[in-house]
Subunit: 341 residues, 2 copies
């Protein structure tokens, strides 16, 4: 028994067949007789041969591997996107390397370096919140390694982005509440420098306008949408009169606000209806009464990956920015659904 790993040369020697033929056989080339193929395959399994991808990647200058960087894999949204990416990659014969930046710029840049030095064919990334500069990804561009940004848009004019239609989502969420008889709708908005939250807010405003409802800017509560903000927001709601609905720009704040309000004896959704951007599963468990806007997470993964593979195979990194905007999806839950399983 040989000590190290078996190579094609070992098979080659054992059979008296040249190693290039062995290589071709193992890659199922049409230029090898079925008979020799069989012989080689048999010997390969007999010896416990295992291909060395490193060597073949080095030689061919193609890794069939893409890198994915997300802030945290534990967030349901991102893990769903990753599932979408993996499915698409699997079908296309690509390997996927998953990394988390923990929303930390330094770490993110180190990950990019690592991925590039491992010669991934392309990168999909949802940038960290600290990433804001114009040339944070110059090394990719120098390398001509395609990179696609998803969920969190980045330099739309220059890069390829995959995002959802935030304006439309905000509009539909608000419209949904209006059509259900709500007139005094509070909006939990996020940091006002963020384009994303601005667009959601504009959707909210547009819906109010369409139905000729008065716009009261006291009803727009901006915060960082953390749990503690949800509590603060809830307190503010109690101070306002006749609020009958909330459209929250994310689920975290919505949920903590709901818990707080329930605790105060407010019936949800009898007295206040909620719509929030959210992960379907979590909010279904936590609050059956919370309707949600899905970010079409899985689909975002498949779309982004498909786009990336196209860029890789055409070897044409798009210079001018291209943004793919996905439809949002409003998920309605009836308040009769006390338990959703």
């Amino acid at each position: 028994m040989k000590k190290g790993k078996i190579t094609i040369h070992d098979i080659s020697k054992e059979l008296g067949i040249n190693s290039s033929t062995v290589s071709r056989a193992l890659n199922n080339s049409s230029r090898v007789t079925q008979k020799t193929k069989d012989k080689i395959l048999k010997k390969a399994t007999e010896l416990g041969y295992q291909r060395n991808s490193l060597a073949s990647k080095l030689r061919t200058n193609k890794t069939n591997t893409i890198g994915v960087i997300v802030p945290r894999i534990s967030r349901q949204f991102f893990s769903s996107v990753i599932s979408g990416i993996e499915e698409t990659a699997y079908d296309a014969g690509y390997e996927v390397i998953i990394c988390q930046s923990l929303d930390n710029l330094e770490r993110e840049q180190k990950l990019i370096e690592t991925l590039l030095s491992n010669r991934v064919d392309g990168i999909l990334i949802s940038v960290s919140t600290q990433t804001l500069g114009k040339d944070d990804f110059n090394n990719c561009k120098q390398n001509e390694t395609p990179i696609i940004f998803f969920d969190r848009p980045y330099n739309i004019e220059e890069n390829t982005n995959v995002i959802i239609d935030d304006f439309k989502a905000g509009f539909e969420a608000t419209e949904h509440l209006i059509l259900n008889g709500c007139k005094n709708i509070v909006h939990f908005s996020g940091p006002q420098h963020s384009e994303l939250y601005k667009r959601r807010k504009n959707g909210y405003l547009a819906a109010l306008k369409k139905y000729n409802l008065t716009i009261d800017f006291n009803y727009i509560i901006a915060s960082n949408l953390m749990k503690s903000d949800g509590i603060e927001n809830a307190k503010k709601i109690l101070d306002l009169s006749k609020v009958d609905a909330v459209f929250s720009a994310n689920d975290v704040a919505a949920i903590s606000a709901m818990i707080y309000l329930k605790d105060k004896g407010v019936k949800i959704p009898d007295e206040i209806a909620f719509v929030g951007f959210s992960n379907e599963q979590i909010s279904a468990v936590i609050e059956p009464s919370l309707s949600t806007i899905s970010q079409s997470d899985f689909k975002m993964g498949t779309v982004a990956a498909t786009l990336l593979f196209k860029q890789i195979e055409q070897k044409t990194t798009i210079k001018e920015g291209y943004t793919k905007i996905l439809e949002p999806k409003l998920i309605i839950r009836n308040s009769s659904q006390k338990i959703i399983l």
Copy 2:
């Protein structure tokens, strides 16, 4: 400007320094003058050099990379373990490749193949539920690639495993309920062929014995611990008389049972106290009244990774099984804590 990627030879030529010196400089070898190092580093950044890890891995026959396979990255428990692994790996200078098996054996085996063909130095795995055979990981052993099993033990006699002390956890959970005055404690157990659930159950039984409580086997309800099972279990509880507590072997069943019972007007934890294996964060949000047993997730990651690195560096795959058992951690929440933020 050169079209392809810059190599050490490009730097070598530009400076008239031999490429091996360049290589040494880039690896910060002590056998190069600081002066030449500086020159080389400067030229490297100037040309936009980026090391090709594939080549160096191939050459050195060491990848400084480990593979991690978990059923799903979206489960809080696994993503915490992964964080623990990543921190440890980062400190030790290892890269980490994260993969999810989706609890599917075929997929798991394909992932193992891929990792091995990429010549990872070692593998950490929490096996899929479908993985039960004796020689599912023979290819690893042939390869002499260290593999460590965490959370879900696998052939304890032969392999290295990292698990928590399930017996103790079951014992402490039950004892906690007893010490709080509960006498009629139902146990939601899992599949009875599973060692893990058997050990948790034995802990439960041991605690009852210690406090001289009568053991009623009608109080041990075995199921697959899915959401729907939780509902069924809850119905069974309502049929039993004088149940005042539940120790659930996982959180999913516990939560759905609680929701169902609350819906039926049962007050929790006034009438029924719950302890469940669980993820801290989730249950804190969903059910403040649910006390939980933590599986020391992050720590499990660091321990497993440290163990693996030791095996890799000693190049001694342990032949006889070695099992590291971690302490469980009971997290008590007072029922006064209505909102935990």
